[in-house]
Symmetry: C2
Subunit: 348 residues, 2 copies
Amino acid sequence: MTGVGGPGSGVVEDATVSAFGEHALIDRIRRRLPPAPDWLIVDVGDDAAVYEPVRNRLEVITTDAVVDGVHVDRRFVPAGAIGHRAVAVNLSDLAAMGATPRLLTLSLALPDDLSLSDFDALVDGALALAERAGARLVGGNITRSRGPLMVDVTAVGSVHRRRILRRSGARPGDYVFVSGTLGDARAGLALLADPSGAHAEAWPDVVARYLRPEPRLRLGQVLGRSRAPTAALDLSDGLADGLARLTADHGLGCEIDATALPMSASATAVWQSRGADPVAEAVTGGDDYELAFTVRPKESRRLGAVIRAVGGLRLTRIGVVTRDAGCWLVDAERQRSPIGRGYEHFSR
Amino acid sequence: MTGVGGPGSGVVEDATVSAFGEHALIDRIRRRLPPAPDWLIVDVGDDAAVYEPVRNRLEVITTDAVVDGVHVDRRFVPAGAIGHRAVAVNLSDLAAMGATPRLLTLSLALPDDLSLSDFDALVDGALALAERAGARLVGGNITRSRGPLMVDVTAVGSVHRRRILRRSGARPGDYVFVSGTLGDARAGLALLADPSGAHAEAWPDVVARYLRPEPRLRLGQVLGRSRAPTAALDLSDGLADGLARLTADHGLGCEIDATALPMSASATAVWQSRGADPVAEAVTGGDDYELAFTVRPKESRRLGAVIRAVGGLRLTRIGVVTRDAGCWLVDAERQRSPIGRGYEHFSR
């Protein structure tokens, strides 16, 4: 009976947003939206939205922010890498739709103590990746921040209607593929964040994977053109999170072969040196920005042409979509352990 | 000779961004950009960028942020008004290009202490204006802020090539027009920010002008269709700033008739009650989001149709563009006083 009749009785205290994850808050917004207009081909909830400004011409738009203290830490992430990353996370969303980048806008909130040379490095890091990806900066705004440095980018690209890669579409029996290697970025982050500063030079490849993630634009475009995937997304928040979006969000599950997970020798060495389990880190670690996608078994021969088109980038079959909900990691002894949903940036 | 040979000699201390205004920083970015591609019709530096995704179809894109403590103050601006404003400032940029809004993205950085009811009110405020303006929210992201609440919106619209309203194009002898009344929003802000809390109820109209600015979309579209303006922009940072962008940025000047400035009875009463000069406040006060535009005298008869099309919104001729640089306010006694550039958000 505590509090009944006391001060504040009858008052339901208003919850704060800190009690909710990003996805719960996004759901609150989605419930407030009017029905999608007919020109909106892919709505809120995918890697990016797809719309049709004129008949048979589709545009893709996405927006994402990089915030000091949440997504990066200025104490060990150089300004140029922050600029690179802010563009990369958005281009990665375009890649995950199969889109070709066209343009960017850049919105900066700058703390007063940011040096001009860091400002220039941030801009140069953003523009260098944008130019390499064929995306032109066309607008933006700059404001003062009384809090952290925030870099907010919106990216627009184009895609053909029949080449759109969506998150929804996986079916039981589909193979699950990932590009590249998993867990490298988290290993790089662990090295950079280590206050002893030790070992960051020993494994420069995983440090670079964290600082300068490479959006898989070519892969996304070639996958879209192949029409092999039934679903696809980018692994911004890690494999566990990505698997949940490909399967659990649609009432499905998956079985992932732990022995098949592609991991770099460096990431494995980093985790072994720290007494951690490389597989667990590869499953939950975010920031790799590899693509994950599902393919019907009989269509998987189409991936041969994809692999040739993307050159050195590895594609690995890591498991299968199941009818039963829940994703499981299966080890060499066929022991099954559940794969959670990973974490959300907002709740970190 | 202070410092020579002493500690730090030879080291040029790196300046911080706090020493620069928003426009100086934007110029640093512009200098780093590659040449504009041919599909980019209006580049960085106007109210919004215009591009051509397919031949003869133009899209307009703009991005702008609203930051607590910089652009608004949560202590006296309700969450719903913050959401409204974040959408309004972007739609106003589209209006200033003559564009029709199509879609929005929303990027939120939320402090942990934001209540869920304030989150909902913010979203509702944003969506209500978006829906009224015909713009659909198609994407966004939410992140935690260890600093202030930040709401970053990107808006996309469409415009016909020959109906684009640009900032450049004013010529000596052109008349200068503004829509609506000037200085209302600043008067509303002065009332809201007054710690005594007095008088905000006495002049609800100017308070509403500050809290819920109305983007002049219909006016922008009709002006674009009329092809009367030689140049146009929105007065987000006040008349003085807008005049400088229409004239000084292109080596021109202007003469503004102080007696012609359209001011509401409420704003005038607010400033008189506070012992301030209503004209000075109308010239420098930002946040009105009216449109300013220039028209060749012989084309000004075209404005008759514009005025009929926009119904109750007032259009006022306030002055003339001059060949000589510098803008001047001319009072009833023909006394001339210089009009500065106004302020920049970043340097506030």
